[in-house]
Amino acid sequence: MRKVRECVSALVRQCARFHSRTYALTHSRTSVARYSLSPIPYSLLFALLLTAGCMDRAMTGEYGSRDAPPRLPALTQNFAPTTSNVTVPEDGQWTMPARDYASTRFSGLGEINTRNVRNLRLAWTWSDGNFYGHEGAPLVVGGTLYWVSPFPNQLYALDLTRPGAPLKWTYKPPVQMAAQGVACCDKVNRGAAYADGRIFFNTLDNQVVAVDAATGAEAWRVRVGDINRGETMTMAPLVVKGKVLVGNSGGEMGVRGWLTALDAGTGTIAWRAYSTGPDADVLIGPDFKPFYAQDRGTDLGVKSWPPGAWQQGGGTVWGWISYDPALDLVYYGTGNPGPWNPEQRPGDNKWTAGIFARDPDDGQARWFYQWSPHDVHDYDGINEQILLDLPIGGQTRRVLVRAERNGYVYVMDRATGQVLSADPFVHITSSLGVDLKTGTYLPNPNTSPRTGTVVRDICPAAPGAKDWQPTAFSPRTRLMYIPHNNLCMDYEAVEANYIAGTPYVGANVTMHAGPGGHRGEFTAWDPVRRKPAWKIRELFPVWSGALATAGDVVFYGTMDRWFRAVDATTGRILWQFRTASGIVGQPITFRGPDGKQYVAIFDGVGGWPGAVVSGDLSPEDPTSALGFTAAMADLPDHTEKGGTLYVFALP
């Protein structure tokens, strides 16, 4: 605004000079009254054009525009902004999609900062020749960049030490093409992980693969699931203490969810923890000490279901895992219960839509908390959780922070599982709140879907306030950077459908923008003050990941093809680049062999909201893609498919 004021005052000075001149011209006795183009329209036009030039050139009308601009108050506490679990020192590499075990997605590289990011320019590009949704994060280890493509999940290694990053090798796993018919939501892959000289990743048809990072030779490949049972795998593994942790997808297909640990050296399965069933299957034993009463008892994974329904219980593990080396606990969420209609599965349906803390050596559960008991809205609980040490109530607490699908930002004690706060970060009608005394989620009975009735404006919609797209955290600003959705849905059960020849009446779900009319937001959230610092509204759901850097620049991408750099403190857009296709991937940054800092992002729209493009769905059928098409029918106007890596650097 200050700049605008300066522009306007400069304009006024200019105009005054002009006016004085034309005043003389027009008000001489001999001037003609029909001097029709009077000074006023001239100055207005001039003012408009000048102002347009003065305005932040990154302002793109309503979208990409900020709410609640800058000005964090001065720090009142002498608080050392660290996360105790940033175990990977800043070495310019990116060895796992979340950057570190705490899942901060924060880079200590500061060469690119708020002053010079506007000079960021494209260094080189590369395409993987694949047109499905590109949700993954590339890895950079040493002088090599690694990428796992969407199905058929080929692993590429690019040589960063040579100009233009030529391809070093490709590893092509043998895959079952039939897996494509089973995957629910585009054939994405969310990334690989590097450890001990190997790259580990999952294929859609349930294989876990270990490849030698230097040569591309396969070390081992193990099939851990069955597409004929409806299982697929899309998540990025996490390697902890010599074990590769992986989880499955397929909750709608009657799949029973699990987290499996394989030995990183040999690929043998060390343990598997199911998300439903008896305690022996869920690896609940004497160490299990959930914080809340509703999670205590034996065999709750059976008892909180009708008999036998737990066998098709869902609770798949297709999202993010974090690890605390000090407490020696891994944290991960479970998906929604399926495939029963909710009335047929009364009970809390444990252990779906919740978060587990487990010992990585043997998988034994330490605690559990359920975000959405007896979920009826498809609120998978698999989002990322950031492990932080935050000042709460006068002490430093070891917490995890989760921007959850059901619309709340949870801050939980990660040692005990206690919920310290749960605050909405979007408009919510599907629940009334979270009772912090009992840890209970309070659903809103008015917005529960019921057969044969129409329920409107269930907010957030099925993709939630935020789906899998991961948050970043900056220890310098102490803000979380949350890419998320602003969607509500209407539910009617009237549509005739059929599977395998059997007709039924399907849920007719259509989604639409939430309050404000914009479908996505990028929010900077202060987990200590428990409120947003600033928000950026976007046209489409912000389905990409976020990246925070020590240069106080935060990066994210939009489905309408913008890759944006914003000021981490104020949210002001400092730089943006229009990519060829929409962005649903995770940005990374690394130090190249030449010592410069690079920022990399894949374009290639897809995933669930992008299915209308990547899956060639017809925009005329609003209920396709489980109702997402209704809210995304204009996506094809903004983007086509794609699959290109962009790497940026300062000149």
């Binding site: 001999t30 003609v32 029709s36 009657g254 029963w340 005739a496 020849g501 399907g506 769905l617």
Partner: protein, 421 residues
Amino acid sequence: MRTSAKVRECESARVGTRLRTCLPAGANEFAAGNAQSPPSRTVADDAARWISPRIVRCSLASVIARLRTRRCGGRRTRPGRRVRAGGLCDFPAANSFAHGGGRHVAGSESQRASRGRRSRYSLFPIPYSLLFALAACSEGRAEPVVIDNTRAQPAAQLAAAAPAQPRTALRVCADPNNLPFSNQAGEGFENRIARLIGEEMGLPVEYTWHAQRRGFIRETLRAGACDLVVGVPSSFELVLPTRPYYRSTYVFVYRKSDGFRVASFDDPVLKEKRIGVHLVGDDGANTPPAHALATRGIIGANVRGYMLYGDYARPNPPADILAALGRGEIDVAIVWGPLAGYFVPRQKVAMEIVPVSPQIDVPFLPFVYDISMGVRRDDPGLKADVEQVMMRRRADIDAILREYGVPRVDRRRASASQEPR
């Protein structure tokens, strides 16, 4: 829609109506909603159009000429006053600018005299601002407007709707592992009916195989890989359905030896039996029996679910529920009629089939469905041909359905129970 927005943008620049020529040639045809497919245009084509003669015409010349006329012409000054005309009037006349030559000099003598003392353009910003405005307008918005009518119709549909190449085969989309409906060996009744239609139309039958689950229509029929789906619910919106050729119902199936009878969801005996239903996993929606039991409080203890998808590596996964009934794992199975009609006689255990009641549960949960064939929505020709065949060979189609034991509730039959085979 985008075209009219563009027109509004140009017009609102308020620098003259000539800017309507900013639009690319032929754009008005598209704005009128002409459904013809436009010649394919690339961004390079658009750029060439924008930059070429269009920009010169749509530009400074006419606009400045107009402004000059108003500003510089006809102004009277008092005698002796030196007029610093400045600005626009110093700009070369439009004609000279456009044609690179000629000196039409407007203005009064005193103006022309004063102008002569200035041989360079004024740096007065307004004409430059107009330049920028015009340049911005003629560049268009950040993204070039591409009018692509093909977006509304996938390319395959356009090909299908193109002036007819005569059909050389009857291309059918079907599930390769889904008896009694179809399988890759051609043993299903939909295979038989497809063969019948092919015979009648004088065409060989070709199949595109795909599991009949989410994405089936999109990846087969709508992708143009095949033209006909032999069985869809008549109100299925993703296709253009023919008239229905049979109506069937969900049925209760139970072992004859058990000695009880059930004919309605309200029968109290249901509350005591172990019931099996098929599960779909479509976002909380399930086969209607699953919902009907829930609304009557029959949940939990006695209800078992069997996924329709089953283990696709084994033959006929939806039939597993009837095998379970035969083994005694459940007492009553509630399944879609044709499934029961085909598999029950093939079970080792004798079973009874009874249509469910009511036929439609409140508030809106039908157990009875009309089944039609389906074609792409823009293929009414095939729909008409198929309906002709269905009419002419109605008796044969009914015979096939009877052979497979499809329970029908659309004929004047006393009972829809299975005919003896």
